[in-house]
């Protein structure tokens, strides 16, 4: 690996391998010696466990398309991208690690990044992966993906001799390398896309990933087969069946009845029960998702900072995390996820304090409280309705009347798209995330250039100092200096509160005890899965 590699340390990281340590308790009719926990060689007579041929996954959505560039749901994006494979991945410490790109170097004073593509990587159609495929895939991602903003600063991709590509930007953008690890940046075969056509490619994506599609039954399941020529080694499990189980209760019961091996998006309440089942294990890997209240700071009542702060003091986030999430979520002390590069929680002063809230209300000229509208798309986030009801009750204590307006996500997304002069938006409950293990991607949207409809600045927040810091941080090459600026940015946000960070939404997975080495990222999707296997006890 040549070059000015930007170390993005710190935990969180977009990729965390979850190695599962505990083995299933032996069933009573098994008279061989008890199996040892994996990796502990204290039972020399333990024979190699039998592996299941198929890993069955209870998938939280239907599989509308397997095109990672065109899919719109996070889970589907991850699944589709896995078939193509990624350029760069993040290690457990958040450092970019070579994947299809085996090395990189910066050029043009940080305005270009040159990636050397691994040679002799075979794709599902037998062809070798080329720089053209990478160029084509990156441009296609930029064209179609709902995450296209991740590479918004890259205006062109060029093919260089020696199996290299060059990503060109107008200004230096430091977190570009970890950004390339974003889930949706899948690399596919250019020839295959052109042959199938953009619209049809999702029916049979061709890439370099560890698995390829062999069967799809609409609305029911897709079956993937191991790609024996996978560049990082032949996958351990022959087949993966992705079963569409969008209903949470049904998904959990399918695991309990043994019909599936692994499920995700599980409620903390179910997780608590599943954890008591000695045939199952519950996994709670780190999550990069943060749920927040967005305020419209250009409109009454929340054009008044004191009222935003009063709301923050009046909400007991600890109680929400403890009672609704049964301790399986964590209070967020910054709008960026804990563990991401540049994160700091030190500016969160809003520990639950109803007296302080009342005092602020008085200062703001609302001694008897006020009322505001709060938009929610129920079910979009885990337990979002329970959380909203709890906050409503807490705010009532200090005389603030939160009027919950619910609509489905389709309607709410349309409503949020209104421009500042047309909208009567006051506040909403919305989730956001870091896509690259860096605080930047979680908070840069609050730059004024991303006001709706140009981006995700739902708050219509505008602070010149903040805008300047974002621009400065994104072009700063020195990680030390960047970290300082990122912290300054969080300081401003935590004082001005265009959003209240509430808690990180937990990602809860559950599996049979025999399921091992499933790689899970903080963005709630799989890694390449070539290491995953299921032991039969």
């Amino acid at each position: 690996m040549t070059s000015r590699r930007r170390p993005v340390r710190i935990l969180m990281a977009a990729t965390l391998a979850i190695a599962l340590v505990v083995l299933a308790a032996c069933s009573s009719n098994n008279n061989s010696a008890p199996t040892a926990p994996s990796g502990t060689p204290q039972t020399p007579e333990a024979q190699t466990p039998k592996l299941k041929e198929t890993l069955v996954v209870g998938f939280p959505t239907d599989v509308a398309t397997l095109d990672g560039h065109k899919a719109t749901g996070l889970h589907l994006i991850g699944l589709g991208a896995m078939l193509g494979d990624w350029l760069v991945r993040l290690d457990a410490n958040g450092n970019p690690k070579p994947w299809l790109a085996e090395s990189w170097e910066w050029a043009d004073e940080g305005k270009s990044l040159i990636l050397k593509i691994r040679d002799n990587v075979k794709m599902h159609n037998g062809a070798l992966l080329t720089a053209e495929d990478v160029q084509y895939s990156l441009m296609r991602f930029k064209k179609y993906s709902i995450g296209a903003a991740t590479l918004g600063m890259v205006h062109d991709v060029q093919v260089l001799p020696g199996n290299k590509v060059k990503l060109l930007m107008n200004a230096p953008f430091s977190p570009l390398l970890p950004s390339l690890a974003y889930t949706g940046i899948a690399i596919y075969s250019k020839a295959a896309v052109e042959k199938a056509g953009d619209d049809n490619f999702g029916k049979d994506p061709v890439g370099a990933g560890p698995y390829r599609l062999i069967e799809q039954k609409k609305g029911e399941h897709v079956k993937l087969e191991a790609f024996d020529d996978y560049w990082a080694g032949k996958p351990k499990t022959k087949y993966i069946v992705i079963r569409a189980l969008p209903e949470m209760g049904a998904r959990v019961l399918a695991l309990e009845s043994g019909d599936v091996d692994l499920i995700y998006v599980v409620s903390p309440q179910d997780a608590q029960r599943l954890a008591k089942n000695d045939k199952l294990q519950v996994l709670t890997p780190p999550s990069a998702r943060i749920n927040r209240i967005y305020f419209n700071v250009q409109r009454a009542p929340f054009d008044n900072k004191l009222l935003r702060q009063a709301v923050a003091y009046a909400i007991d986030r600890e109680a929400i995390v403890k009672n609704i999430f049964l301790g399986q979520a964590a209070v967020s002390h910054s709008p960026g996820p804990e563990g991401a590069f540049g994160y700091t929680g030190e500016y969160d002063v809003y520990k639950y304090n109803p007296d302080k809230a009342r005092e602020l209300l008085k200062q703001a000229g609302f001694p008897n409280g006020f009322s505001f509208k709060y938009h929610l798309a129920p079910g979009r986030y885990l337990l979002d309705q329970n959380v909203s009801e709890a906050m409503k009750a807490q705010l009532k204590q200090v005389g603030i009347d939160m009027q919950i307006i619910t609509m489905d996500w389709g309607a709410l997304s349309k409503y949020l798209e209104l421009t500042v002069d047309k909208t009567d938006f006051e506040s909403a409950f919305l989730g956001w995330r870091s896509t690259n293990g860096d605080v930047d991607s979680a908070i840069m949207d609050l730059h004024s250039r991303y006001w709706r409809p140009n981006g995700n600045n739902n708050s219509f927040y505008k602070n010149e100092e903040y805008d300047r810091l974002v621009d400065q941080e994104e072009s700063e090459a020195d990680p030390k200096k960047r970290e300082v600026i990122l912290k300054q940015m969080q300081k401003i946000l935590m004082d001005e509160l265009p959003v209240i960070p509430l808690y990180s939404e937990p990602q809860i997975w559950a599996a049979k005890k025999g399921v091992k080495d499933v790689e899970i990222t903080p963005l709630t999707n799989f890694g390449p899965l070539h290491t995953a296997y299921v032991e039969v006890n």
Binding site: I146, A148, G219, A250, S413
Partner: protein, 306 residues
């Protein structure tokens, strides 16, 4: 009879025409925009406009409708925005699942409902009647998503007899069909009981008994056949309810049916998919109604005359 049938079938076409127009307009009245949902939260207005253009959503609504109708006349339901696949291709396999589910469900519901109803009527105010009443009430009151989950817990998780979801084999249909039937058997039982009780008081029933006809024959030939007309009406309505109930049943049992597909399509504002699905739903309703009307004629010759 022949003419009546032709007229009834002829009425289907305007009905479905009205359905296409209503659905087309109503789904566009729901706030939301498929292009926005496709483009995502941090998209640019340019990208959203591009998607709109690609799917023809930027054109005036009457042009969109005309295009839709033109395609429909050549039996083309259009392309799904969410999956870029022909809507017909998406619907066909799912419709089969729902039809199977609703048919099994109706069959079970009719068998149990009518049996319970007859038992209730001929042994009225006995323990059989009370049991039938309680069972019917329970069936009506239990929402499918609840009774369905309970069934999975018992038969898949604890006993391990039946698969928890999916559609691979006939066994996959047992739990969902019974759950769905529970939902409607109650109404059929109540209707059968009430009508049977009324009819059993008629003079011709008394006459039949008086001339020594076996009670079994009295019940099945004299009474039940006459009681069937309102019961068939209820069954017809229930079949419609079954299609609706199928939406929930399909979710709980993870069946790839048309009901679940409709819900997904609405979530993503996939207009062509919603239009196609509702049209298929509507056509099924219309056909069921037609069959029910034809059955009246079979059951009661007087209706045929009209």
């Amino acid at each position: 009879m022949g003419r009546y049938t032709v007229v009834r079938i002829g009425q289907i076409i305007p009905t479905l025409l009205v359905v296409t127009l209503l659905v087309f307009l109503v789904i566009r009245l729901i706030p939301g925009d498929p292009a926005l949902l496709m483009a995502g939260e941090s998209s640019t207005p340019e990208r959203v406009a591009e998607i709109r253009k690609h799917w023809g959503l930027d054109r005036p609504i009457y042009v969109q409708y005309a295009t839709y109708m033109k395609r429909l006349l050549s039996a083309d339901l259009g392309m799904s925005i969410a999956s870029s696949t022909r809507v017909a291709e998406e619907i066909a396999p799912r419709f089969l699942v729902t039809i199977k589910l609703a048919s099994f469900g109706t069959l079970i519901a009719v068998l149990t409902g009518v049996t319970l109803g007859i038992l209730g009527a001929i042994r009225k105010y006995s323990w059989v009647d009370y049991l039938a009443t309680v069972a019917a009430l329970l069936g009506i009151s239990m929402p499918v998503f609840w009774s369905g989950l309970l069934a999975i817990m018992l038969f898949s998780v604890h006993l391990g007899w039946l698969p928890s979801g999916g559609t691979g084999t006939l066994a996959h249909y047992i739990m969902p069909s019974v759950t769905l039937a529970l939902f409607t058997a109650g109404s059929i039982a109540r209707q059968t009981r009430a009508t049977m009780m009324e009819i059993m008081l008629n003079d011709y029933v008394r006459t039949a008994r008086a001339k020594g006809v076996a009670e079994r024959v009295v019940i099945f030939r004299h009474a039940l056949k006459n009681a069937m007309i309102p019961v068939v009406t209820v069954i017809g309505i229930q079949l419609g309810r079954q299609m609706g109930g199928a939406i929930m049943t399909e979710s709980v049992f993870a069946m790839p049916g048309i009901g679940r597909y409709l819900v997904q399509s609405i979530t993503s504002r996939d207009y062509p998919a919603i239009q196609g699905t509702i049209l298929v739903f509507a056509a099924s309703f219309v056909v069921v109604n037609l069959v029910v009307d034809m059955l009246y004629g079979l059951l009661d010759p007087r209706i045929r005359m009209e």
